[in-house]
């Protein structure tokens, strides 16, 4: 149980962080590109970015807590 739980913790946080990294990169990249092209739309683009990043990042943060639970059970 111990080693399996540790592997599960590593997988859950690793894959969560990988997905969030890719998602965040896409969101931030496109938003910065949009703001550079049209600075007057900064407010709208930032709000959309906030919603997107908040959603993308919720999953790895929860996966970190899950990893913590698995680590505690190991």
């Amino acid at each position: 149980m111990g080693a399996t739980a540790l592997i599960a913790a590593a997988i859950v946080f690793g894959l969560g962080a990988l997905g969030a990294g890719i998602g965040n990169g896409l969101i931030v990249g496109r938003t910065v590109e949009g703001i550079s092209r049209q600075p007057e739309l900064r407010g709208t683009l930032q709000t959309t970015m906030f919603i997107g990043v908040a959603l993308v990042e919720a999953l790895p943060i929860i996966s970190l807590v899950l990893a913590f639970i698995f680590y505690g059970e190991a």
Partner: protein, 137 residues
């Protein structure tokens, strides 16, 4: 901070505080499940701190992009991950709250953000279609 983002953030904060008050009322009414309600409260507070930190970072990135500045900018993901982990550690080690409830609470501000985003988009789309038909004059 930008007006649009700050208005959105104010509403998210208000919704989160409303959820916190519901949790505290449930904690008082149902003391048998205090480990769950307490965990939910700790997770929700951490989630609100995360949302405020994220808004601050996004505003900085937007200002830098609008000014055409160069250099590296980070979103501070590990700071927020550590805030979530700290909430879980405080809830379990100090107060004996349920860590599952903390994990659920960490999603509250993000869920409020999502629902508010859908609602704002729907409202904007409805106003736009009324403007196009000339019914909003």
């Amino acid at each position: 901070m930008n007006d649009n983002l700050s208005a959105h953030l104010r509403t998210v904060t208000r919704l989160t505080f409303f959820f916190l008050s519901v949790c505290f009322i449930c904690w008082a009414v149902l003391p048998a499940q205090q480990a769950w309600w307490g965990g939910l409260v700790v997770g929700t507070v951490a989630s609100l701190v995360n949302a405020l930190h994220l808004a601050w970072k996004i505003d900085r990135i937007g200002a830098r992009a609008a000014a055409g500045g160069n250099g590296r900018a980070s979103l501070g993901f590990f700071t927020r991950a550590c805030i979530g982990l700290l909430a879980a550690v405080i809830a379990t080690m100090t107060f004996d709250f349920r860590v599952e409830a903390v994990a659920a609470g960490l999603f509250v501000a993000q869920l409020a953000t999502l629902l508010l985003g859908f609602w704002t988009k729907r409202k904007r789309g409805r106003t736009q279609s009324l403007d196009e038909r000339g019914e909003n004059n």
